[in-house]
């Protein structure tokens, strides 16, 4: 039986397409309940990473407890679990949703339903959540709330007739949102007297308290001093602190069924608190663990190397620390003839990859060289063994390969109908297979394509945005593997193979790709003391060749008189530029060259 307290708890997430106002609505809810004082309040208050603020995105999930005094005079505990919006972070979203009974679906009244609105909505439905649609940005002149309601009903199939019409930015309709949360989202089930079952939906590492597990109590009660057990590993720990998020961590004595909070128990290893695991009472254990969720599977891989080889231990240390709070990040050591010691890292997608790179560079002050991202290819060898290839360099000799498979994703694109032509052209050019096209309304279309993942990971999103003036939205999910004719394309600079530039490409496109990469490299490699031949090769066959001419003129035929400092500064600046270069044999390569070669559009 649910307690009175339990009946006044609501656990919910906010889901939305990127930029539809999720973080702003979270800000308003926090502000309105007086959870934070005006002084503590700032924009995107839950996104405390610099990177999140700059990019206006949420990367990490966060939780906050709000106390709201309802019109019935009672105080309700509303646990808001903030989630990322980008497709790369679906995994984070899914974890958070598992801790909730409901989700607020924010839809921008000027844009209507977008690809990630749908994707996030389906995720929420998968978790049997009550979805409460909210229509945002009604203060804008181009807002069309009626049309947006119709789309929510027609496309998603949710009743939007009494969806709150709000402007999170200016604070219109926020009370309606609270009302909808309390009236529509069910209170949590579960019995505080049962044996403990707590779901870990996130964890982070604190250098003082050890691993802090973010938990949702499903059954039973978690108390201070309790001996807890991780149900997947059987490891036991003594609870040192239990608390709630306000959003700062505030200790409490216990957490009961239905509540959301955190637990610290001197856990030193993040692997001991696997996200999705169930925590129980070691002295009175639950018979069963909760259904977890599938672990995050990295889909995109690239090599990350320190610019300065001596920084390898620092890079290792930084990756380990990042991994503490980012279970989806994987890495293992690798060596490259061109770049020395580094790591092959796995990511959920390209944004995840960029975010990790940026965090390494900023938070750990590292200069990195990143190699071309790759997907996991399945290589069936003639001896019957299967190789999962994450680094193109490791592709066996073609004579040892029976066949290869590459990952395929099912792609959803929502776009104004004017752009269907250019989008179809783009998808076809990327080996996309058309599945279907549906008119969402008179002027908006939803397209489905099956596409090789390696066609999407480089610059597909940018190409899509530029062809549709930014109007199209994209979502994709892995749908399986498919046999493909693939070859390894190598790049030679000054006659030396640069392993870090090797990539797997469809054989039908190898020539064109080889040529475009050679041309691109010619653009990005600065002229040097000597002439540099650039060659693209498949096996021993050269398929494209360009030349970076030797430096012709770099001379100050001018008299600066006694102003030698000025001359020196010019040379020092030139030297700084050189320092950033990565030396491959005798050739100096700008670090961005490794990514630049992929931008073929």
């Amino acid at each position: 039986m649910a307690s009175e307290k339990q009946k006044r708890i609501r656990n919910f997430s906010i889901i939305a397409h990127i930029d539809h106002g999720k973080s702003t609505l979270a800000d308003r809810l926090i502000e309105k309940t007086g959870t934070l004082t005006k002084r503590e309040m700032e924009e995107q208050v839950l996104d405390d990473m610099d990177l999140e603020r700059e990019r206006g995105i949420t990367i990490k999930s966060r939780a906050v407890r709000l106390i709201y005094k309802h019109t019935d005079g009672k105080e309700y505990i509303l646990n808001l679990i903030d989630t990322p919006g980008h497709v790369d972070f679906n995994y984070e979203v899914s974890r958070s949703l598992a801790a909730c009974e409901g989700a607020i679906l924010v839809v921008d009244a000027t844009q209507g339903v977008q690809a990630q609105t749908l994707a996030n909505c389906y995720l929420a439905l998968d978790h049997n959540l009550e979805i409460v649609p909210v229509i945002n940005k009604i203060d804008l002149a181009s807002a069309d709330p009626d049309e947006t309601k119709r789309e929510i009903e027609d496309i998603i199939g949710l009743d939007a007739s009494d969806a709150p019409l709000i402007s999170a930015k200016v604070g219109i309709g926020i009370d309606d949102v609270f009302k909808a949360i309390i009236d529509k989202i069910p209170y949590p089930q579960g019995n505080s007297d049962e044996p403990l079952q707590a779901l870990i939906f996130d964890s982070l590492y604190d250098s003082y308290k050890g691993v802090i597990a973010h938990i949702r109590i499903v059954q039973g009660t978690l108390k201070n001093g309790m001996k807890i057990k991780m149900m997947s590993t059987g490891k036991e720990f003594d609870v040192t602190e239990i608390g709630i998020f306000t959003p700062n961590m505030v200790p409490v004595g216990s957490l009961e069924a239905g509540e959301v909070g955190y637990v610290a128990a001197s856990m030193k290893d993040v692997r001991d608190t696997r996200v999705g695991d169930t925590i129980t009472n070691a002295d009175n254990p639950s018979k069963s663990s909760l259904p977890g969720y599938r672990p995050a599977v990295p889909m995109v891989f690239c090599g990350i190397y320190p610019s300065d080889g001596a920084k390898y231990p620092e890079l290792k240390d930084a990756l380990e620390k990042l991994q503490l709070n980012d279970a989806a990040l994987s890495f293992e050591p690798e060596t490259s003839a061109a770049l020395g010691f580094g790591f092959r890292c796995g990511f959920l997608g390209l944004l995840h990859m960029e975010v990790v790179q940026e965090r390494l560079e900023r938070e750990y002050d590292l200069d990195l060289v990143t190699t071309a991202p790759s997907v996991i290819y399945k290589v069936m060898k003639t001896d019957g063994t299967l190789l999962e290839l994450t680094n193109p360099t490791n592709l066996p000799d073609p004579s040892e390969i029976s066949y290869m498979e590459e990952p395929i994703v099912s792609t959803t694109i929502i776009t104004p109908s004017d752009y269907t032509g250019p989008i179809m052209e783009l998808c076809q050019g990327r080996r996309g297979v058309f599945k279907d096209m549906k008119y969402l309304e008179e002027k908006r279309v939803m397209l489905h394509y099956e596409m090789p993942l390696n066609e999407i990971i480089y610059d597909f999103f940018d190409a899509l945005k530029s062809r549709t003036k930014g109007y199209a939205s994209l979502d994709y999910e892995l749908s399986g593997y498919k046999e493909s004719e693939l070859v390894k394309l190598d790049i030679l600079l000054n006659g030396e193979l640069v392993d870090a530039l090797s990539m797997i490409v469809p054989s039908e496109r190898a020539y064109a790709r080889g040529r475009s990469i050679a041309v691109k490299l010619k653009e990005v490699i600065p002229r040097q003391l000597f002439e540099i031949p650039i060659q693209a090769a498949i096996g021993s066959k050269i398929i494209a060749r360009e030349t970076v001419k030797a430096l012709r003129k770099d001379v100050l035929a001018k008299c600066y008189g006694g102003d030698i400092s000025r001359k020196k500064k010019l040379l020092e600046k030139q030297k700084e530029g050189k320092k950033k270069m990565r030396k491959i044999g005798s050739v100096e390569l700008p670090p961005e060259a490794f990514m630049e070669v992929l931008k073929i559009d």
């Binding site: 012709r552 001379v555 100050l556 035929a557 008299c559 006694g562 400092s565 001359k567 020196k568």
Partner: protein
């Protein structure tokens, strides 16, 4: 204590040339007399160091020293006469549009023994496009007057890589200047600098850089023609008949000591480089308030000094001497720069000849890329 080169800066011009990014101004003529007084005051302040070291060269540069009005001009040069001794090279820069017999005579009477005349081109259209205030005729007239008055050491500045300049324009300039038979010719490549009119036009896409092949072709045409006419290249851009090399500029390239007086002037004494404030008004105000006009000061480390020794010294055809390096720094150049020298030799950019290391022609073409190797 080694003798100093003395540099004096005159920041005034009748009008600013379109390519010029030196510390010079038009429209500030009203400051001229106070400025000259300030120069004299600064010289008096620096008297102890001048006394102690002695002076081996004097160089009056600008701006346009010959643009000073008669009163200021006379006052400056009659004051400076006290630094002139026999054997001192005493140069003054001159613009053909601001010279006349009277000024030439004042210079001569006060000990100036070397004139440096900015001609730039033997083509009146090009001169106009550069924003020069004179024509070729002004140059010929003043050059002849200077010879008549007795100047027997004259430099002429010319320029290549000017937008719209053809190879034959440039050859014509070279031929005509050689015919005038000056003792020294400086031959500079035009550089489009930020903060100039050309820099603006470049940013707006109205002006393009002369392509590298043309630039190099012009440079080597100059080297060849001048060599045939008896002028030897002794520095990347400087050519002279034997024994007429500019000793003042060689002080810079040898990284020896000099004292700069005036707005924006640079000095290098001991292990300190310092420079004065650039704005003439500010310079005057500081001096008039008995304050030092120094804006910047840099104490050089041994690494700095070695870097400068290399990248300044290598500008000269004779290059840098291994023995000089050892004497100066107590270290062997091979030990400090062995790897760099070996690499640059491999690419044919420098050559070793007995005691000296110097640039090859190809090394001159990309000398900045060579110099970068020596920055520590």
């Amino acid at each position: 204590m080694e003798k100093l080169g003395l540099y004096i800066h005159i920041p005034f011009c009748k009008s600013k040339c379109f390519y010029c990014d030196f510390n010079s101004y038009s429209g500030k003529d009203y400051l001229q007399e106070r400025y000259v007084d300030s120069l004299i005051a600064e010289l008096k302040f620096r008297e102890p160091i001048i006394e102690k070291s002695g002076i081996s060269t004097i160089y009056i540069g600008g701006g346009t020293p010959t643009y000073l009005n008669n009163i200021a001009f006379k006052k400056l040069f009659s004051y400076l006469k006290r630094y002139y001794r026999s054997g001192v090279e005493y140069s003054c820069e001159a613009n053909p549009g601001t010279l006349n017999k009277e000024k030439l005579s004042i210079l001569k009477e006060n000990g100036v023994n070397r004139l440096s005349i900015g001609l730039q081109s033997w083509n009146d259209d090009i001169l106009k496009r550069l924003g020069r205030i004179h024509n070729v005729y002004d140059f010929i007239e003043n050059y002849d007057s200077a010879r008549k008055i007795g100047f027997d050491n004259i430099n002429v500045d010319i320029m290549f890589s000017i937008q719209g300049q053809t190879m034959s324009d440039f050859e014509n300039t070279l031929d005509n200047v050689c015919n005038m038979n000056p003792e020294h010719i400086s031959c500079y490549g035009l550089i489009i600098e930020d903060g100039t009119l050309f820099g603006e036009r470049y940013k707006n896409g109205e002006l393009k850089e002369v392509d590298e092949d043309t630039d190099r072709a012009m440079y080597y045409t100059a080297v060849e023609k001048l060599r045939k006419a008896g002028y030897l290249r002794y520095e990347i851009s400087n050519f002279a008949k034997s024994n007429y090399e500019c000793r003042h500029n060689i002080i810079y390239w040898d990284t020896r000591h000099y004292l700069g007086i005036g707005a924006g002037a640079h000095s290098y004494i001991g292990d300190v480089r310092f420079s004065n404030v650039t704005a003439p008004e500010k310079y005057i105000r500081l001096i008039e308030n008995y304050k030092l006009p120094v804006a910047d000061e840099e104490h050089l480390t041994t690494d700095d000094m070695m870097s400068e020794f290399m990248f300044m010294g290598l500008r000269m055809t004779k290059g840098v001497q291994f023995s000089d390096f050892k004497n100066r720094f107590g270290l062997d150049m091979e030990n400090v720069y062995g790897k760099q020298i070996e690499k640059l030799q491999k690419y044919g950019l420098v050559k070793v000849n007995g005691n000296s290391l110097s640039l090859t022609d190809r090394g001159i073409d990309i000398s900045n890329a060579v110099f970068v190797e020596f920055i520590r």
